[in-house]
């Protein structure tokens, strides 16, 4: 009965990846604290579990590599091998290799990797034997109990038997015991057989010798001279309770005049049928055993579907609400109030099921920071806080790259070199903290370093010299403008920046990503003391509050997260500053962007008052002119497929209660 393991593949990949993450994490810890036995044990355990799982799935490369790794880890544990940088690096390379094999399996890429160099390197470390017999050295330790006594061994077995009775009287048996063809740990089986025999009698001798049996120097069967007062059947039955014992044959039987029949007991269906009736029933098995299942693994696409369905439900609910309002049916209104509450609860629950602790992505960062710091000759202590904080799975996946970017920046450009730090009177080792915290309906994730900070003045000068800002503007700039400049596309690509502050490599990408998720990016920096980047992210993406606006008979949705306020503006309030239309709203000058024009309309500006929506983008406010404000509504985001995704300015689409489709404006990219 062979087993179809393919159904376990997803689960295997998931869990294998978790173990690899744990391995990487623990190895970073071990490097910091090489003597820590707990960490070593944890690494060993993960490697061991991975090996067992891989073997079960039949992934030989994984099994072999993790087996070799285990040998080295065993040496580390026992102290035979010392934890050194070369070993740590070697093990890290192994983890990487394992990781790429696992992802190869996940993507069914079919690409092959060569694990030989690593395996040889591992063997060189522990001076290991060939892979084909990796267990031999250890198997020796599995000592079967000694036969009754060594002196008796030389004596012929005949001496022992002289009883008359089937059971009760002492007799000597010559047993031939056969193991299953694919029995794995033969020496341990031998141990069990001898243990069992010594419980019901006395082992006198064996053929081959006990030493050869220990060393597994036998094929499938061996002979035992055994003296017992038990009946033949009892002996056979006792031995057959041991797994992988295929048969017990009585070759000779010394007990008076009885004939010895050669009998073989086969394991198999009949034996089990018999067992069925004999099976003891545990005292607590009387139905009282509680079956508890605490958690269920669900494919993420199921949750996505569920969320979509709830989305549809919300749309329908809105439609019903519209009907009840336009027809003014009090009963319907009442019933709907209940539905509104229920759908809100339902939505809440489903949202919770989609929440995943941030550690899912955080766990891979320590290794990354470690490698990077080593590569850049920086000394960095990396710490993580708030890894239990939960975020929607989709958002979490999306922010992984931006976070990596921020961390890379922190190591690359934030943290100063150990020498520089010492001259500045700071500890040699820099610190980078990755902190997640929940803030009502937002989660904020911060990357803080205690490095050299950003020199705002230099940034301003550079921006001015590159013509990104005018000289006038230059004077009015404050600390909060640094990020805006740094994340201006193209600003940071200049080489000279890395010499000055180095910040901003790809920051525009990070910022756009965070904002497209409905979040915000902040930066705080003190020259010489360090920099903190903070992402403020919504808990979920799927359903948001939006402001619906009308432009040229089309409805658009603006996520409420970016909306500061709305106002009505008369044409005479519009001023022009260096070719840019602006309006004054409570002492603040706001650039005015006409949405119709932005969307490609070419009509003349009217003379009537029109509404504007003030939005916050990149920490400055912009007024967006629209034709009409339609109100606030909960909308369900349907993302655009990959062909439409390339169009800038739209974050998705939604279906309104009336059945109409409205595009959701992605304000940051629209104005970029």
């Amino acid at each position: 009965m062979d087993m179809d393991v393919s159904q376990y593949k997803d689960l295997f990949i998931n869990e294998a990846q978790e173990h690899l993450e744990a391995l990487n994490q623990a190895m970073v810890d071990l490097e910091k604290d090489p003597g820590n036995p707990d960490v070593l044990t944890e690494i060993f355990r993960s490697a061991h579990t991975l090996k067992g799982m891989s073997a079960t799935m039949g992934f030989d490369q994984l099994t072999e590599l993790s087996h070799e790794m285990e040998n080295v880890l065993d040496g580390l544990r026992s102290g035979d091998i010392e934890v050194g940088t070369d070993i740590v690096d070697l093990l890290f390379s192994c983890f990487d290799m394992l990781g790429s094999i696992v992802s190869g399996i996940a993507h069914e890429s079919g690409k092959t990797v060569d694990t030989k160099p690593l395996i040889e390197a591992l063997r060189a470390v522990y001076g290991g034997s060939s892979v084909s017999e990796p267990i031999k050295t250890k198997a020796r330790k599995a000592k079967p109990p000694e036969p009754a006594s060594r002196e008796e061994q030389a004596e012929p077995p005949e001496e022992a038997g002289e009883g008359e009775d089937e059971s009760g009287a002492e007799k000597t048996l010559r047993l031939k015991i056969t193991l299953d063809q694919d029995c794995v740990l033969k020496s341990v089986r031998v141990f069990m057989i001898f243990k069992k025999l010594s419980q019901i009698g006395k082992v006198i001798n064996s053929r081959p010798s006990i030493d050869d049996l220990e060393d597994e120097n036998f094929e499938r069967s061996f002979e035992v001279f055994f003296s017992t007062s038990e009946s033949l059947n009892a002996v056979r039955k006792a031995l057959m309770t041991i797994a992988e014992v295929q048969g017990v044959e009585v070759l000779a039987y010394e007990e008076g005049e009885e004939e010895v029949e050669s009998q073989t007991v086969e394991t198999g269906a009949q034996a089990f049928e018999k067992a069925e009736t004999e099976q003891p029933v545990g005292d607590a098995a009387a139905g009282a055993a509680p079956v508890r299942t605490q958690s269920v693994r669900v494919n993420i696409s199921r949750l996505d579907n569920l969320m979509n369905l709830i989305g549809e439900l919300v749309i329908n609910r809105t439609r019903l609400q519209e009907i009840s309002t336009s027809h003014n049916i009090p009963e319907l209104k009442e019933a709907l109030a209940q539905t509104v509450r229920l759908t809100a609860d339902l939505q809440d629950e489903v949202m919770k099921t989609r929440m995943v602790p941030v550690e899912h992505i955080f766990n891979r960062f320590p290794r990354m920071v470690r490698d990077l710091a080593k590569n850049r000759a920086k000394e960095v202590d990396f710490s993580i806080e708030g890894k239990d904080i939960e975020l929607d799975r989709t958002i979490l996946d999306e922010i992984s790259d931006p976070l990596m970017h921020l961390l890379r920046n922190a190591v690359d450009h934030g943290i100063d070199s150990p020498e520089d730090r010492e001259t500045r009177g700071k500890p040699r080792r820099g610190s980078i903290r990755l902190v997640a915290r929940r803030d009502r309906n937002y989660v904020s994730i911060e990357v803080c370093d205690d490095g050299q900070g950003v020199d705002a003045e230099k940034i301003f000068d550079l921006a001015a010299s590159k013509g990104i800002i005018g000289r006038e503007e230059r004077r009015a700039l404050g600390g909060e403008d640094v990020l805006r400049l740094l994340s201006t596309p193209g600003f940071s690509s200049a080489k000279e920046v890395s010499g000055v502050s180095g910040r901003g490599v790809g920051l525009d990408v990070v910022k756009n990503k965070v904002e497209s998720l409905g979040g915000m990016l902040f930066m705080q920096s003190i020259k010489g003391e360090g920099t903190t980047f903070a992402m403020k992210l919504p808990l979920t993406l799927a359903i948001i509050q939006a402001l619906l606006v009308n432009v040229e008979e089309e409805i658009y949705a603006i996520p409420l997260g970016v909306v500061v306020e709305t106002a009505v503006i008369s044409p005479h309030e519009i001023k022009s500053v260096s070719d840019q239309e602006v309006i004054f709203l409570r002492d603040e000058t706001l650039p005015l962007v006409r949405l119709p024009r932005l969307l490609g309309e070419t009509r003349e500006n009217g003379h009537e008052a029109f509404p504007v929506v003030v939005v916050e983008v990149a920490m400055r406010n912009v007024a967006i002119a629209v034709d009409d404000l339609m109100g606030q509504q909960e909308i369900v985001i349907t993302s655009l497929d990959r062909f439409l995704k390339v169009i800038r300015g739209f974050g998705g689409a939604t279906i309104l209660g009336t059945g109409e489709v409205a595009l959701i404006l992605d304000i940051p990219s629209l104005l970029a």
């Binding site: 009965m1 267990i135 250890k138 000592k143 141990f191 309770t241 797994a243």
Partner: protein
Amino acid sequence: MAPTVLIVDDALFMRMMIRDILSKDGFEVVGEAENGVEAVERFKEVKPDLVTMDIVMPEMDGIEAVKQIMKFDPNARILMCSAMGQQPLVVEALEAGAKDFIIKPFQPSKVIEAVEKALKD
């Protein structure tokens, strides 16, 4: 009445697999535990006819769990699940009172054989 089994393994993947193998063959899986401490607790709670016990686990390993379970119930039937390279530990577990062992990678037939034999013992 189907014999009841408690599955102990730190890998969810392995637990799922053993569960599937056993339930297909008519055993009733009455509990799962992912470390030794949990295993001992669950054993006392559900008093299964049989326990499948992984050896290398966090918190408390399978050997210690066998010792504690045997102390609680000397008639407990425990089947060790081990990967290759763990012979000394397997022997230690057997000496502590485990009935038998199976080696990963599991073949369903072997698992069933070992389970049925252990129950018969």
